[in-house]
Amino acid sequence: MNDDPEQLDKHVEDLLQDRRPERTPLGDDAALRARQTAAMLRAAKPGAGLPSKEFLERMQGSIQGWVGERSARPEPGARPSRRALLLTGAAGIAAGVAAAVGIDRLGKSPAPSNNQALVQNNGTWKPVRALADLPEGTPVAFRSGAIEGFLIRQGQEVKGLSAVCTHMGCILNYSKFRKQIECPCHGATFQTDGQPTDQYNSPLPRLPSLNVRIQRGQVEVYTV
């Protein structure tokens, strides 16, 4: 079947509405490439492509179940693992940063007084938003390089906060209704200054701050 503008637009419209597109055999490579390009563009829309709270919760449970089943099966030729997991490499992908932030929890160490910025060196300044686009006092989510964060404007100043939960590394959302930062996974909540509003037995660390500057009306974040 030959591709045509109507058929491709139907596919695009499905992506824009976050619907599963109809699956039709495609005539050639070009038709598939056009659809893969459409997917990539769709994902680049600000705020697109983040998993829903429900999906994350479901996956948390599924993963626990699958790991449990896997571990219950004996591994032929393998001795029981006593090896600690090593966290290393790949300087600062988002998950890596999340993992590192989570380490304190697993180590049961006292929460650090983490007022340091998350990225300290080897980073670069990347523009993420125009200052004029930021509302006063309401956190705006952004993603740049390895960093998932919030920008919070206060007059002519902007503060940056990590958007990775210090509990288990999920990506946080801001609730305009409750005026707080919320974790979709296990319900941790934070004030817009990064302080946890804790219902956990041991208090969570605060959200690390990010280095932010304003250059010619653009808000830039120091990121890896």
């Binding site: 499905d14 790991v67 966290l87 790949a90 740049s144």
Partner: protein
């Protein structure tokens, strides 16, 4: 804990420093493994989303990736191994997806699946899109920006560009095909 732990996040993010967790018994190993997988859900979901562009497919395929990855892997893995394993499973799962639903032989269509895992890729999807758009003629770039990045309907795009709706669809068709060829050249 030590000074290392206080600055752990920063040191890790900037230098790839190795941080060992305390030695664990079998139950703790299992917890660590569960946790290590869980911290990758968002990244894998985003990686897949940027390739399929819609939530239902991204959710189904992500769940498949984790199920296949966990049931097929040793339990004594390090996180870097686990991460590249997850991306490798994600790539083959995507290749199967294209093959099954859109084309008879997607193996040679999608260059992405033969590339080494690129864990940092998704957060940079926006940058990749910017550089892709920069290769296109102005009218192509405009139509893609309005439709995808600003979410304009065909009608709104037509008004903005002073074209008919049919012309917008034709322009979008040419722009996506041209951009698809450009991607094929650079990947």
């Amino acid at each position: 804990m030590s000074e290392d732990h206080k600055t752990g996040a920063a040191a890790f993010a900037s230098s790839g420093k190795v941080v060992a967790l305390p030695q664990a018994d079998a139950t703790q190993d299992q917890d660590h493994l569960t946790w290590a997988y869980q911290t990758h859900v968002t990244a894998i979901y985003q990686y897949i989303y940027s390739r399929v562009g819609n939530r239902p497919d991204a959710e189904d395929l992500s769940a498949q990736v984790f199920m296949k990855a966990i049931t097929g892997m040793r339990s004594d893995v390090s996180v870097p191994e686990l991460r590249s394993w997850l991306y490798r499973v994600a790539q083959t799962t995507l290749a199967d997806h294209w093959r099954e639903y859109y084309a008879e032989d997607a193996g040679e269509l999608e260059d992405d699946v033969t590339r080494p895992p690129a864990p940092r890729e998704n957060p940079e999807a926006v940058l990749r899109v910017d550089s892709l758009l920069a290769t296109l003629p102005e009218s192509y770039r405009r139509v893609l920006e309005l439709r995808f990045l600003r979410g304009y309907s065909v009608r709104e795009t037509a008004q903005e560009l002073n074209l008919s709706e049919t012309n917008v669809k034709v322009l979008q068709f040419r722009a996506l095909n041209r951009a698809g060829r450009e991607r094929g050249r650079t990947t």
